[in-house]
């Protein structure tokens, strides 16, 4: 499209949503209307296919991003370091620390005593000689051969806010669009009755950091691309229900009447915002039906509920949100963002991390199995990642069964599975201390570039022009990692 036209188009969209957000409320401002607007905004172009869409035929059509907020300990979950058991309580050697900056939570400690994981590990067969997983992930172990474990993830941030922002937007400073917003912008909606980018939050067990709504914000992209938060109690989507006393028939008549007036006005003023506004109201009307159907688990059989575990019956748990994620995926929602809070274990880690894994382990394995048997795993990309890992040395007192760990950005484990990802591999390696990467480092930009590739995008060409330059999710770097691709 001509850049000048594009500019004006985005201006009008922004203005419209800015207004809509104040007049109708955040719930509606958050709805994604990509395809509807694509049709109605551009007068006369009604019949064309949307401009966006994958650059090449994608493997994955949608994403389920399981963000583990707080920074899970790679050393107690995925990065097996048996030698550390013979270095118990030794000091972290300078030759390993290499002057790495620490947070002020531990930089004042006189000693940095090595805290080997107290958990037993088991080797699960995969295509690269097996992957060692902690005993506290018994269910994840059953699907290890579907997963690509990246043991050599690194980030630049050492604190939660910039760390999460980096993973979500490709930049540590707030203000850029979230990954999900980029997908909404690039792929558009595949179900005009539901949001394109859905967000769900599970409260964790321990220390929890704030989760800012801007993590799923659309930055400078039109605000139709921002994430829509599905709440676990009360109405899943705010401001969707009709007020008491108003029936669906009343609502329909009201919409028809307003619609007729709007149409008259649109014909006279040719203002595209009017069409967009009508489309938005119609979508809200449809969501009044589609959202309750979505969140009602009564059509799930007992065996499926059992797969996810008992928690699935409690709204808002990670298990319930995983099942909801599957239902959203089935219904064509493009980007499903789950947050699991509470991985920030500075002290009492062994006890607390088990509460966390008990909440996620069965459910995340169930999600993979459930998608797989429904034929959806091949086209659904799953990412499991925290914003960083945790230190090999103990924060605070160290005993064999109790220790804490501080934030560690320099090396940690994340995993991906499903659409377009090589199943059953371990990629990258850390040193004997799980502190530095010794093989195949993966930056956040590399990860994003690789995930975009499975979704059919050349990360250098998925751009949005803002303030005179083209912005990308991967900023100015990033490399597709072929070994991670199926």
């Amino acid at each position: 499209m001509n850049p000048i036209e594009e500019h004006y188009l985005s201006l009008t969209r922004r203005r419209f949503f800015g207004k809509a957000a104040t007049s109708i409320g955040a719930g509606l401002g958050a709805l994604s209307l990509g395809s509807l607007l694509g049709g109605s905004l551009a007068h006369g172009q009604d019949n064309m296919l949307p401009q966006q869409g994958p650059h090449f035929a994608p493997k994955a059509k949608r994403v389920i991003y399981l963000h583990m907020e707080g920074g899970p300990s790679h050393l107690d979950l995925y990065d097996y370091k048996p030698e550390l058991r013979r270095r118990f309580n030794q000091d972290l050697p300078d030759s390993i620390r290499k002057g790495q900056r620490l947070t002020t939570m531990t930089s004042g400690q006189a000693r940095f005593p090595i805290a080997p994981s107290m958990f037993r590990f088991q080797r699960c067969e995969n295509r690269t000689g097996g992957v060692w997983l902690s005993e506290i992930l018994p269910h994840t172990a059953t699907v290890a051969n579907e997963i690509a474990f990246i043991h050599s993830m690194e980030t630049e941030a050492i604190n939660h806010e910039p760390g999460i922002t980096f993973f979500q937007t490709g930049n540590q400073q707030p203000g850029r669009p979230s990954f999900g917003s980029w997908m909404s912008y690039g792929l558009g909606s595949a179900n005009a009755n539901l949001p394109t980018f859905a967000v769900m939050i599970t409260q964790g067990q321990g220390n929890m950091q704030a989760l800012a709504a801007r993590f799923w914000g659309s930055g400078f992209l039109p605000s139709e691309h921002q994430g829509c938060k599905l709440r676990s109690s009360g109405d899943p989507v705010l401001y969707l229900k009709d007020p008491p006393g108003m029936t669906r028939v009343d609502r329909r008549r009201m919409l028809d009447l307003v619609g007729a007036l709007n149409e008259k006005e649109a014909r006279e003023s040719l203002d595209p915002e009017i069409d967009a506004r009508v489309a938005q109201a119609e979508m809200a009307y449809r969501m009044q039906m589609s959202v309750p159907e979505l969140t009602d688990f009564s059509d799930e059989d007992e065996a499926t509920l059992a797969l996810y575990g008992d928690d699935v019956r409690k709204p808002g748990t990670f298990a319930a949100n995983c099942l909801l994620a599957r239902r959203l995926a089935e219904r064509g929602v493009r980007f499903i963002q789950l947050y699991m809070r509470g991985w920030d274990q500075h002290g009492g880690l062994p006890a607390e991390i088990q509460l966390q894994t008990r909440a996620v382990d069965r459910a995340q394995a169930a999600l993979i199995k459930d998608l797989r048997r429904r034929g959806l795993l091949d086209e659904t990309l799953i990412l499991w990642a925290g914003e960083f890992g945790r230190t090999v040395y103990s924060q605070g007192t160290l005993t064999e069964t109790n220790y804490g760990r501080d934030h560690h950005p320099r090396a940690f484990t994340v995993w991906a599975a499903g659409g377009g990802i090589a199943p059953g591999i371990s990629y990258g390696k850390t040193d004997d201390y799980g502190y530095n990467i010794v093989e195949n480092p993966v930056s956040v930009h590399d990860l994003h570039a690789t995930l975009l590739h499975t979704l059919g995008f050349d990360h250098e060409r998925l751009v949005y022009r803002h303030q005179g330059r083209d912005y990308r999710l991967t900023d100015v770097s990033g490399r597709v990692i072929p070994e991670l691709l199926a």
Partner: protein, 383 residues
């Protein structure tokens, strides 16, 4: 559109040759150089680096020429991507004079670069397969496909049916009825898709009410590659309507009424390489017959759990391994002790004192001072 070579493991080629039902590992048996690498070089480099011309003294049209390198020597270092000049040049900024191909020429895409890197990382072999490098299947040639009728696309959208080009520049369509699945029936599908018969490439009808008429209609869609009928009432009689649909590669029938009677129908689909049948009434015998077809991957929801190969014993904790920062034993600066004489914790070689000619190490910066208050007492605790 020229054929694109990309990194694919789970492809028709791999599945065909593996002889396994589900084996995404199987590499192509063909020479990866011949089928994947040479075509990229031919398409993008050989014009300037081939038999006609040798810019920079470099030719890339034969294995010998690639091995010979250019004016500055080797450009491909087998097994070492980072040291390979050829790769370095691909990654340079477009406006860098050394960037290849020169900025006014068609560029490699990220997948092609990744492919070259993977080949070099694998030792740049000129014969035999490389894990993960296979020729992708050529998508149904979009050049032969006419553009979809705009009115038909509008009709779909008006009904809230999702429609999208499979990729930019392609006329092939992915059509998904998810938004209106509960009210999607045979009549609606036929009405909306009749004008899009030749473009419909991926069709999702999951959770809908479609039946035999839709299946018979799908049997007449020449470009239909993927069909999703999950959670529908489709049974054997309906499925038979597909006939020998020539293009269908992926079929999702999870939680449908399919039984053993559909085995023949499935085996008769010539291009079918993946079928999902979880929740269907299939006997072990019928499954075995389907799984006997080497090119077909059959998912019956019975994928076994990952094998646990080894479980570690309950860990014991010691500090017997020497710190890597410790000077080697015998070195005059090596401490004589492994435990801090003040606290009993493992020593940190950073904090030491020399006492009576011996180097003594401590656990932390505070202990040397404590030692100084009563050296004799602490020295007595040394080995």
């Amino acid at each position: 559109m020229s054929a694109r070579w990309t990194v694919l493991a789970l492809s028709l080629a791999a599945a065909c040759q593996s002889g396994e039902v589900r084996d995404s590992l199987a590499p192509t048996r063909e020479s990866a150089y011949e089928v994947v690498i040479a075509p990229i070089l031919r398409e993008r480099c050989v014009g300037c680096h081939g038999s006609e011309r040798a810019k920079g003294g470099l030719r890339l049209h034969t294995p010998e020429a690639i091995r010979a390198g250019g004016s500055m020597g080797a450009v491909v270092v087998p097994g070492n991507v980072g040291a390979s000049e050829l790769v370095r040049r691909l990654h340079l900024a477009l406006d860098d004079d050394e960037h290849m191909p020169p900025d006014d020429k068609p560029q490699l895409d990220a997948a092609q670069i990744a492919t070259l890197e993977r080949w070099i990382a694998a030792g740049a072999p000129y014969e035999g397969p490389v894990d993960g490098l296979v020729a992708p299947q050529k998508a149904p040639a979009p050049t032969k496909m006419a553009a979809a009728d705009p009115a038909a696309l509008s009709a779909l959208r008006n009904e809230l049916v999702h429609v999208q080009a499979v990729s930019q520049g392609s006329h092939a369509l992915w059509i998904d009825f998810a938004a209106i699945a509960p009210r999607t029936d045979d009549a609606l599908v036929e009405r909306l898709l009749t004008p899009l018969k030749s473009q419909t490439s991926e069709l999702a009808l999951a959770r809908s009410k479609v039946g035999g008429a839709t299946l018979a209609f799908c049997g007449r869609l020449p470009a239909l590659r993927k069909l999703d009928l999950r959670d529908t009432k489709v049974g054997d009689a309906e499925l038979a309507g597909l006939g020998a649909q020539p293009a269908l590669e992926e079929l999702v029938l999870a939680r449908t009424a399919i039984t053993d009677a559909s085995v023949e129908t499935l085996l008769a689909l010539p291009a079918l390489r993946s079928v999902h049948l979880w929740g269907c009434q299939l006997s072990p015998d019928a499954l075995a017959r389907l799984r006997a077809k080497p090119t077909l991957r059959v998912d019956f929801g019975d994928t076994p759990d990952t094998v646990i190969a080894e479980v570690e014993d309950k860990p014991k904790f010691t500090s017997e391994l020497p710190s890597p920062d410790l000077p080697p034993a015998g070195d005059p600066s090596a401490p004589v002790n492994a435990k801090c004489p003040v606290t009993g914790s493992p020593i940190n070689p950073k904090y030491t004192r020399t006492f009576e000619g011996k180097v003594i190490a401590f656990c932390c910066p505070n202990c040397p001072g404590e030692f100084d208050t009563d050296p004799a007492k602490y020295a007595a605790k040394l080995p």
